[in-house]
């Protein structure tokens, strides 16, 4: 039982909050996708053209939803102090927290995304790619979102402030993911988008823990 798995298990059980967790984010995601046809009309041609894009916007918003609990809960309760005096450096702790955040909310979203996209008129054969891009994009959302959550920790304002800080930084994955799906649906070369998306996600995993640790130290001092 390495310290990583001890911490990961705790983060997961907190994020899932007795099984409520994924229902919350997936439910929010479904309602975002529901709003679109209701608001812009259900003409098949119009909807299917934007189905992939809407799914991605829904993904980004839904994964931001549970972010302000990522650090705030432990900071308020004093658990961040305890965790900081343990075997793992703060950078690793932040990375484990974001990984748990990914598994708890982004992974279920990656499964729900194709269902929503097809519901909005996307071609059925894009389902696989939508799930894959959603899973990889979710990594970027979880880690960059985690950095936003850690930075907003000091301000006690969470939610909107995190979204405002994080969404401009998420332009690249949204572009890459959306383009990969759109190109795939149109029969154009789509692998570049996927490769760039994966590159961004890996860079996020490698770099954001340092920013998160810095932000946490700032909040703890």
């Amino acid at each position: 039982m390495t310290p990583h798995s001890t911490l990961f298990r705790r983060e997961l059980s907190l994020a899932w909050a007795r099984g409520g967790g994924p229902l919350l984010t997936v439910g929010f995601f479904a309602s975002v996708c529901l709003m679109v046809p209701l608001s812009i009309g259900a003409a098949p041609g119009r909807l299917s053209a934007v189905a992939g894009g809407i799914t991605w916007v829904g993904l980004a918003l839904a994964s931001l939803l549970s972010l302000d609990r990522l650090f705030e809960r432990d900071f308020e309760s004093g658990a961040l102090d305890l965790v900081n005096l343990g075997p793992l450096p703060l950078e690793t702790i932040c990375a484990v927290k974001c990984a748990a955040q990914w598994l708890a909310s982004c992974a279920p979203l990656a499964l729900a995304a194709p269902v929503a996209a097809i519901g909005l008129g996307a071609k059925v054969e894009t389902a696989g790619l939508i799930a894959l891009t959603a899973a990889i994009g979710g990594v970027a959302f979880a880690f960059v979102g985690g950095a936003g959550a850690a930075l907003a920790l000091v301000s006690r304002r969470g939610g909107v402030l995190i979204a405002l800080i994080v969404l401009p930084l998420l332009t690249p994955p949204v572009i890459f993911g959306g383009a990969a799906i759109a190109n795939f649906a149109a029969g154009l070369p789509w692998t570049t988008g996927l490769i760039l998306l994966t590159a961004y996600a890996l860079a996020a995993v490698a770099l954001t823990p340092f920013a998160m640790a810095g932000a946490c130290r700032n909040a703890l001092s």
Partner: protein
């Protein structure tokens, strides 16, 4: 650290004359450049609207410069814990936001007659300036939402550095995205295919904008130094 601001005598002495001097240089350059620009013949394709380029391109260029300065000042303040660098970072954000706003407004005005649309999604530079504007707004919002100055400075610096690292990736992704949708819109004239008669005024106004940015940044940093000096004096008076 913030309150006991190492008295930046050198900086205050230097900026006392450097800020107005840069201001004068900026006024001359911009005035001269615009005079040349307005006197140039209208563009065969865009007609008179090409003159908007003289205020749009420099504003977009300076907003990029402003974010680079924000990133550099934040890095110096974060790594070397230099209070003056933090004052400079805090001072540059509103200027950067205003220059990006000017670039966005003039950009959409430039696109209006050509595309008949108030916002030109086909122009990659305009879209990245919009993202840059949101980065500035995020920085200012984060800093404004934290009471403790020391913690606000540290958090804002980290955000500025994340933004700085992300900026080239954002610019690349927007340009790449633009080439994807190339089919729908032809690339607007500008940059390399610029008629030489427009190049000189553009460079002059560009230099003028940069000088103006320098002058404003120095002046605003001085204001920030005075504000912090005042804050620590009021605190000492209250505590003693």
């Amino acid at each position: 650290m913030i309150a006991t601001l190492a008295n930046p005598l050198k900086f205050m002495a230097f900026s006392r004359w450097a800020a107005p001097a840069l201001g004068v240089v900026a006024a001359i350059l911009i005035g001269w450049g615009l005079a040349l620009g307005l006197a140039a013949p209208p563009d065969y394709q865009q007609g008179e609207t090409v003159r908007i380029m003289f205020v749009h391109v420099p504003a977009a260029w300076v907003s990029m410069l402003a974010y680079a300065c924000l990133g550099a000042a934040s890095f110096v303040s974060l790594v070397f814990r230099h209070a003056l660098a933090d004052a400079a970072a805090r001072a540059v954000a509103p200027l950067g936001a205003m220059f990006t706003a000017m670039a966005l407004i003039t950009g959409s005005l430039w696109g209006r007659p050509m595309w008949g649309a108030w916002w030109v999604w086909g122009d990659a530079r305009l879209v990245s300036v919009l993202v840059l504007f949101l980065l500035f707004v995020g920085y200012i919002a984060l800093r404004a939402s934290i009471e403790d100055e020391v913690k606000a400075a540290r958090a804002a610096e980290i955000l500025a550095l994340i933004g700085l690292i992300n900026l080239p990736v954002i610019k690349f992704s927007v340009n790449w995205w633009n080439t994807l949708h190339q089919g729908e819109s032809i690339m607007r004239a500008g940059g390399s295919t610029l008629a030489p008669v427009y190049l000189l005024p553009l460079l002059l106004v560009g230099a003028g904008y940069s000088a103006a940015f320098g002058a404003l940044w120095l002046a605003r940093t001085r204001g920030e130094v005075w504000r912090r000096r005042g804050a620590s004096l009021t605190l000492q008076a209250a505590l003693s």
